[in-house]
C-alpha cells in the first residue's frame, strides 16, 4: 500500500434504518469527489441495494461487491464511474445475495485494493448491528454517525458508537476511530418549541464532535427519486448543508447553518415591536 497517499476509509453508519445513511453517503462521496479527491462509495447493504438508485446508476450495474469479494471478477470490472463527477466511482451491492456472502478477509482484500486507487473510501453501512454493519465499520479510519432528532435514533447511534470503540480494527490495536455526528432531517422550528430533540440535546447525549446538521427538506426526496445526490443542487438548504459537511470533513471551520428557527418577515417585525414595547415598559 502506498503510505504517502493516506487513503481514508469513512463509514457512514447509524444503527437505525431510514435516517439518511445512503443519502449522506452519496452526498459526501460526491462532495469529496467534487473537491478533487479520488473517491469511491461502497454499498455494504447486501440484498437491499439502494445506493445505485441514489447515484442514478442502477441501469449500469453489471457486477457487484460480492462478485469482487468472491474473486469472480476484477475490481475495475465492478466499479461504476459516475457520469457527473469524474473522480467518483461506485461499488454497488448485490441484490440477490445476503450479508452472509461477505467475509472479513474478502472485505479486507477489496478495501486494500481500493486504498491503492482512491483517496476516500465511503462505506455505506446497512442498518442494524449484524454482519454487514460490523464489516462496514471494521476497517474504518473515520465514522460519520447519522442521527435523526428522535430518541430512538439517538439511542441506536449510541449503541453504534459503543461498537465503534470496541469492534473495529483500530480498537483492536488500541487506536480510536475518528467519530463525527451528522444530524439529518432537522427542523429548527420544531426543536425550538420542544417537539423535537435539539442539536444541543443530541450532542450532549452522544458526546462526539458535530460535523453537520442537514435540515428537513423536500429536495432530498426529489433528488433521490431522480438519482442525483442533493449536494448537486446548491440552491437547496440540504445541498448547502452537505457542502458545509464536506468543508468540515476536510478541516475547514465552517459556521453551522440551519440550526435556528426561520423567522417570517412579519415575525421579525413583531419581535422588534415587542422589544420596543418592553423597553418602553422598563423605562416607565
Amino acid at each position: 500500500m502506498n503510505e504517502t497517499r493516506q487513503s481514508q476509509v469513512i463509514v457512514i453508519t447509524s444503527g437505525k434504518g431510514g435516517v439518511g445513511k445512503t443519502t449522506s453517503s452519496s452526498c459526501i462521496a460526491t462532495g469529496l469527489a467534487k473537491e478533487g479527491y479520488r473517491t469511491v462509495v461502497v454499498d455494504f447493504d447486501i440484498g437491499l441495494r439502494n445506493l445505485d438508485l441514489h447515484m442514478g446508476c442502477e441501469r449500469r450495474v453489471v457486477y457487484d461487491f460480492i462478485n469482487v469479494v468472491n474473486g469472480d471478477v476484477k475490481l475495475h470490472q465492478a466499479l461504476i464511474k459516475d457520469k457527473r463527477v469524474s473522480n467518483l466511482s461506485i461499488l454497488p451491492a448485490s441484490q440477490t445475495r445476503d450479508k452472509d456472502a461477505l467475509s472479513k478477509e474478502g472485505v479486507n482484500n477489496v478495501l486494500s485494493q481500493l486504498r491503492e486507487k482512491f483517496d476516500f473510501i465511503i462505506c455505506d453501512s446497512p442498518a442494524g448491528i449484524e454482519k454487514g454493519a460490523f464489516l462496514a465499520m471494521y476497517h474504518a479510519d473515520q465514522a460519520i454517525v447519522v442521527t435523526n432528532p428522535e430518541i430512538s435514533s439517538v439511542r441506536d447511534s449510541d449503541r453504534i458508537l459503543g461498537l465503534l470503540s470496541t469492534k473495529t480494527q483500530k480498537a483492536e490495536i488500541g487506536e480510536q476511530v475518528k467519530e463525527h455526528l451528522l444530524i439529518t432531517r432537522y427542523n429548527a422550528d420544531r426543536a425550538e418549541i420542544g417537539e423535537m430533540l435539539s442539536v444541543k440535546d443530541i450532542a450532549a447525549i452522544l458526546s462526539i464532535p458535530l460535523i453537520g446538521v442537514i435540515p428537513e427538506s423536500e429536495a432530498v426526496l426529489t433528488a433521490s427519486n431522480i438519482g442525483n445526490p442533493v449536494i448537486n443542487f446548491p440552491q437547496t438548504d440540504a445541498g448547502q448543508a452537505y457542502s458545509d459537511v464536506i468543508e468540515r470533513l476536510l478541516g475547514k471551520k465552517t459556521k453551522l447553518r440551519f440550526v435556528s428557527p426561520k423567522q417570517q418577515i412579519w415575525e421579525k417585525f413583531l419581535n422588534v415591536f415587542k422589544r420596543d414595547k418592553s423597553q418602553q415598559e422598563e423605562i416607565l
Binding site: R155, D156, D158, R159, L161, G162, L163, S165, T166, I205, S207
Partner: protein, 230 residues
C-alpha cells in the same frame, strides 16, 4: 494437518440473577406478591434468572412442592435456575427430577456478613474515562467504579463497591453486587433506568433533575434513599 472440528467453546459468563428469599410458604401470598412485583417492572423481570432461598423458612410439613414453586415463578415470567438451603422435601424432589436445579451453598447474605465484620484491604478503584454507551457493560466485582462521562440508557455498570459517575447516569447501576450494603451510587443529575444496592433495587426514579447538584443513592433499612449533595 487438519484440525479436529470443535463441538463447543467454553466461555466465562456472568448473568444477573435475583434471589427470592421466602419468609412464608403460603402459596397464595407468594403468588400475589410475585404478581405485584412483576407488575411494578414487567420488562425487568421478564425471563429473569431466579434463585429460591429457603433459609428463612421454618421446617414445616405443609411445604409446597418444588413443582408448585416452578409453576408459580414461571407463570409470572421468572425463570428458576437454582435453590438455596432447601428443606429435605424440596431437596429430595430436586434430586429425583430429571433436570436438577443447582443447589447454591452460599448466597450473598453470608458474604455480606463477613464483609461487615472483617474489613478488607482497600482495592484500587476502576476509572473509566469517556461515555458508557448503550449496550456496554462495566463489571468490576471487587472494585469501586468511577466514570468520567455519561452512562447512556441501555448500558450497565456493576461494582462490588461504590459507583461514582461524573456525568449523567441514565443507564442501570448495580453497586455492592457482592452484598456490600455500605455501597453507594453518586451521579450528576440524571434519569437512571435502575439503581440497585446490595440486591435492593429502585426502578426508574422519577425525580425531575433541574439543578446541577450531585445525587447520592444509599441503602437505609432495606430502602434506597436519594439525596442531593454538594
Amino acid at each position: 494437518m487438519e484440525r479436529a472440528s470443535r463441538a463447543f467453546n467454553v466461555k466465562a459468563f456472568m448473568y444477573n440473577s435475583v434471589v427470592i428469599e421466602l419468609v412464608s410458604n403460603n402459596v397464595s401470598d407468594i403468588n400475589k406478591q410475585l404478581t405485584d412485583t412483576k407488575r411494578q417492572a414487567p420488562k425487568l423481570f421478564e425471563n429473569q434468572a431466579t434463585i429460591l432461598d429457603f433459609s428463612k423458612l421454618e421446617a414445616t410439613t405443609d411445604m409446597p412442592s418444588l413443582e408448585t414453586f416452578k409453576t408459580m415463578l414461571g407463570n409470572n415470567g421468572f425463570s428458576l435456575i437454582g435453590i438455596h438451603a432447601p428443606p429435605t422435601q424440596i431437596e429430595s424432589e430436586n434430586r429425583n427430577n430429571a433436570v436438577k436445579l443447582h443447589v447454591f451453598n452460599q448466597l450473598i447474605k453470608k458474604q455480606a456478613a463477613t464483609q461487615k465484620t472483617q474489613p478488607k484491604t482497600a482495592h484500587q478503584a476502576y476509572i473509566h474515562c469517556g461515555p458508557v454507551r448503550s449496550g456496554q457493560q462495566i463489571v468490576k466485582k471487587h472494585q469501586d467504579v468511577i466514570i468520567f462521562g455519561n452512562v447512556s440508557p441501555g448500558s450497565e455498570v456493576l461494582s462490588g463497591g461504590h459507583i461514582i459517575v461524573h456525568g449523567a447516569l441514565n443507564g442501570k447501576a448495580f453497586a455492592g453486587i457482592n452484598g456490600n450494603e455500605m455501597s453507594e451510587i453518586i451521579s450528576m443529575p440524571s434519569r437512571p433506568e435502575l439503581i440497585s444496592i446490595a440486591s435492593r433495587y429502585l426502578k426508574a426514579p422519577s425525580r425531575t433533575q433541574t439543578t446541577n447538584q450531585y445525587v447520592r443513592f444509599t441503602l437505609c433499612s432495606d430502602n434506597i434513599v436519594i439525596e442531593q449533595i454538594i
